[in-house]
């Protein structure tokens, strides 16, 4: 320790003189690359123990399964882009290059949005946490571009554009230099665009209200897309894959696309007047520079110390309020008053809390309304062709999203679950309260979907179908409630609002996710073989005889789980507290 008291060698002596030599960029960038590697490598480190060993094996198996799927996903667009580019040039349809490049750009952004979850599942760190180190802005900018470069969107997009360049080169070797140069710039444009959108969205969605509005807009977008889908002319459905309606739509919009980056890129590759090609290329470079500038401007704000959050980080002392009379009463008096109610004080208090959470959650309202709109659309589309599935299809589809929430009932409580463990309450009551809140939402949704299905049905729905569907719904609700509550205790997952993309994914939560999906789909799709069975035997009441005992069994299983809930939570208390109360 003696050396700590002495003047340290190297940098500090120079620090005291004021003028500091610049830290080489390579040193810092290599340090960050090493950090990234160590975080990845340490992700496999586990303490000794059977559970951890199982987790490690599962992680490796999951990765072995998932990466080939990604590889296959990348192969399709790559081969497709190469073929279509070759076909466009050799088949003398150069204008086809514009929609092709537009499709690659859309695919790039689509994968970027949908691949965010995959990227988040890989152990990493928040690049903004590096801002406390002496980094220059230029290096921070480079760093932000380099980190996450090996994401599925960039890999798929770059491979597709590289393949397109090769396709063009094979078709006409004289276009090769221009193709490789222009498509490299086009790749950079796509990369900057997705990064720009990412950082600006992060800024725009930093408040809960903004996220809710964004959620509603996205829901409306997808709904309108469905409208577009069901109203397209029927002959498009029979068109060949290479002449799909999307491609036709894009051919039709070639005029518009000509003034956009796909047009600039394609026209600067294709033969033409050199000045025109140069102008198109410069336009592409200008757009690329514009996206880069917008990305850099946002990052610069962040670099200077921007604060993104719901509001001020304050603990403003509120003026003292006179104590309400009720609070001044003795606690025993309050307990006595509550016991006159139908529900126990614990259930009542928890229900109030759930109601407060729900009231402030606009996304929940959107999540409830969107499936109903889809039910309406489906009843005009797929379900219109299969009216026997209409009621079950409508109710099952509407409940799908809400049922998933039953599998992590403690997630939003986060560290607050400690209160449940500390307070003199039966945890069974807490679970019942949460399940009542969840079931209320599910029943409202099921009723709305049911009424909608009745309204949209072109022929009256038979009584046997209605009764069997009711039993199926009871079975589905209680089966998912039972298994969901069990998983909520065994493999809870902390939900941090505003950090959805940075959720910590443990092996348990990943496995749990797959399991939940399987159970959810299984319980919903069970309706199909039963309906087929009824058709085969020409007896609609058969479904009632199948679903009624299943419903009874599910209700009994739920009751059994409730009886053992306190003991279960005690058994899994360590994991429960570690996941929900940890950092």
């Amino acid at each position: 320790m003696a050396q700590l008291d002495q003047q340290p060698e190297g940098a500090p002596s120079k620090i005291r003189q004021g003028g500091l030599p610049d830290i080489p960029a390579g040193t810092q960038l290599l340090a960050i690359a090493w950090l990234r590697w160590r975080i990845f490598a340490n992700g496999f480190r586990r303490q000794a123990g059977k559970r951890q060993a199982v987790g490690l094996v599962l992680t490796i198996v999951l990765r072995l399964l998932i990466w080939p799927i990604f590889a296959a996903m990348a192969l399709g667009p790559t081969l497709g882009a190469g073929y279509f580019a070759w076909n466009a040039i050799s088949g003398h349809h150069p204008s086809q290059l514009i929609p092709l490049l537009a499709v690659v750009a859309i695919l790039w952004q689509f994968v970027a949005v949908n691949g965010a979850g995959i990227a988040a599942s890989v152990s990493s760190f928040d690049p903004a946490s590096l801002l406390r180190f002496p980094l220059r802005f230029g290096r921070y900018l480079v760093l932000r571009l380099l980190l996450g470069l090996l994401t599925p969107s960039t890999i798929i997009g770059c491979l597709a554009l590289f393949a397109a360049a090769i396709g063009i080169a094979i078709a006409n070797v004289r276009l090769a230099p221009a193709a490789f140069l222009v498509l490299a710039v086009y790749a950079a444009m796509n990369l900057f665009f997705s990064r720009m959108i990412g950082v600006w969205l992060e800024r725009a969605l930093s408040t809960r209200r903004a996220r809710e509005i964004f959620g509603a807009v996205m829901a409306l977008f997808f709904i309108s897309f469905q409208f577009l889908n069901i109203h397209r002319p029927a002959h498009h459905a029979r068109a060949a894959a290479t002449d799909s309606w999307i491609m036709n739509l894009l051919y039709g919009t070639n005029r518009v696309l000509a003034w956009l980056p796909p047009g600039f890129a394609a026209n600067s590759i294709l033969p033409g007047h050199p000045l025109v090609r140069l102008g198109e290329f410069l336009a592409l470079v200008a757009v690329t520079a514009l996206f880069f500038a917008a990305f850099a401007a946002r990052l610069h704000k962040q670099f200077l110390g921007e604060y993104l959050s719901e509001g001020a980080p304050r603990a403003t002392p509120s003026p003292r309020q006179p104590a309400p009379a009720a609070a001044a009463r003795a606690p025993t008096e309050n307990v006595q008053r509550a016991t006159y109610n139908l529900l126990s004080p614990t259930i009542e208090a928890c229900l109030r809390k759930e109601w407060v959470y729900l009231r402030g959650n606009g996304n929940q309202i959107i999540a409830m309304l969107t499936p109903l709109v889809f039910v309406f659309l489906l009843s005009r589309g797929i379900l219109a062709r299969h009216p026997s599935y209409l009621l079950a299809g409508a109710v099952g589809y509407a409940l799908l999203g809400l049922l998933a929430a039953l599998y992590n009932i403690f997630g939003a409580d986060s560290t607050g679950v400690q209160l449940y463990l500390l307070a003199p309450v039966r945890l069974r009551d807490v679970i019942v309260a949460k399940n009542i809140a969840g079931m209320t939402l599910l029943l409202v949704e099921a009723t709305l979907a049911w009424c909608l299905a009745e309204y949209l049905a072109t022929v009256p729905i038979p009584l046997a179908t209605q009764i069997s569907t009711a039993f199926w719904v009871i079975f589905m609700l209680f089966a998912n409630l039972t298994l969901g509550t069990l998983r909520s205790i065994q493999a809870p997952r902390k939900i941090t609002l505003a950090q959805t993309r940075r959720l910590r994914q443990t092996t348990a939560s990943k496995t749990s996710g797959l399991l939940v999906l399987a159970i959810l789909l299984g319980s919903i799709l069970l309706q199909i073989p039963v309906t087929l069975l009824c058709r085969h035997f020409h007896n609609a009441w058969l479904a009632v005889w199948i679903f009624a005992p299943l419903a009874a069994a599910a209700v009994a299983a739920y009751g059994l789980l409730l009886n053992h809930a306190d003991r279960l939570i005690l058994t899994y208390r360590d994991r429960f507290a570690e996941e929900l109360c940890g950092d």
Partner: protein, 274 residues
């Protein structure tokens, strides 16, 4: 020699809420400065601005005589920070983390390795190299955060609640480290709710209340200010015990608008508690 830390009319607003309101602060080089204030007074916001993690709405910050906004990267090399949440990389081991921090501050490999070993030894963390930081106790994480903050030999050290949740043994290690640094002329800017520790360690105090700097000076100056001068007609009373920092602090910020001590609720409130 310019002051180690100097702010001019430093202000930070969040919407319509002013967290830090025109703060003019001066900390001379080599001072052990304690920055105090009740919860939500603006201490952490001020530290974040002084370390370049949060942009001020208005006002100027000068560290070691240079403007922070214009010389951010250069000044960050000369300061060390233990931020509020410690900001450690939980998936690294302690030595991996210190090596990473050393390299980020431009230390060569040999110096980084040497200091890493020394710091781990001093902080009694040398035997914990098999563990990931995420598995460390809170006290161990605090010690590691301090080690990371000093590995590059900073001239100014910012510590946001370094003793929070730390046991007596770990606190002793931290204090020992800080006293060594003060002896070497390092300026330390510390926030803490543990007033006894602040009183024992710090030479100068600044008190922030509702975003405004309401008092600043040496502990003796603040004591002198809090003791009213004897009436000229009165005979000099025998020397009484000087007020503690806690008494000074409560006198300055512990009162509500009516002048009642915030820590003592009126009798009629919480009557059910007994």
């Amino acid at each position: 020699m310019p002051p180690a830390i100097e702010t001019t009319s430093l202000t930070r607003r969040f919407g319509d809420f002013t967290a830090v309101d025109h703060v003019n602060l001066t900390v001379d080089a080599g001072q052990f400065f304690g920055f105090l204030g009740p919860n939500g007074a603006g201490k952490s916001t001020t530290i974040k601005m002084l370390t370049g993690l949060l942009a001020p709405t208005s006002g100027q910050i000068r560290i070691l005589g240079a403007d922070l906004t214009e010389n951010s990267a250069e000044l960050k090399r000369q300061i060390g920070v233990v931020p509020e949440g410690m900001a450690l990389f939980g998936r690294l081991t302690a030595s991996e983390y210190l090596r990473f921090v050393g390299r980020m501050y431009g230390l060569d490999r040999v110096t980084t390795d040497q200091r890493t070993a020394e710091l781990l030894d001093f902080m009694n963390l040398a035997g914990e190299d098999k563990k990931l930081i995420t598995d460390f106790s809170h006290g161990m994480q605090k010690k590691l955060a301090l080690a990371a903050a000093v590995i590059h030999g900073p001239r100014v050290l910012f510590l946001d609640e370094p003793f929070e949740g730390v046991d007596a043994i770990a606190a002793g290690t931290l204090k020992s480290m800080l006293q060594r640094m003060i002896a070497r002329g390092v300026t330390i800017f510390l926030t803490s709710h543990v007033l006894e520790i602040v009183e024992r360690l710090c030479t100068h105090i600044g008190i922030i209340h509702r975003g405004q700097l309401v008092a600043q000076g040496s502990i003796e100056e603040l004591r002198a200010r809090s003791i009213p001068p004897p009436h000229p007609c009165e005979q000099a009373a025998p020397t009484s015990t000087p007020p503690t920092l806690e008494q000074i602090f409560l006198e300055i910020v512990g009162t509500d608008r009516e002048g009642n001590l915030a820590a003592t609720p009126p009798e009629q409130e919480l009557s059910w508690l007994s």
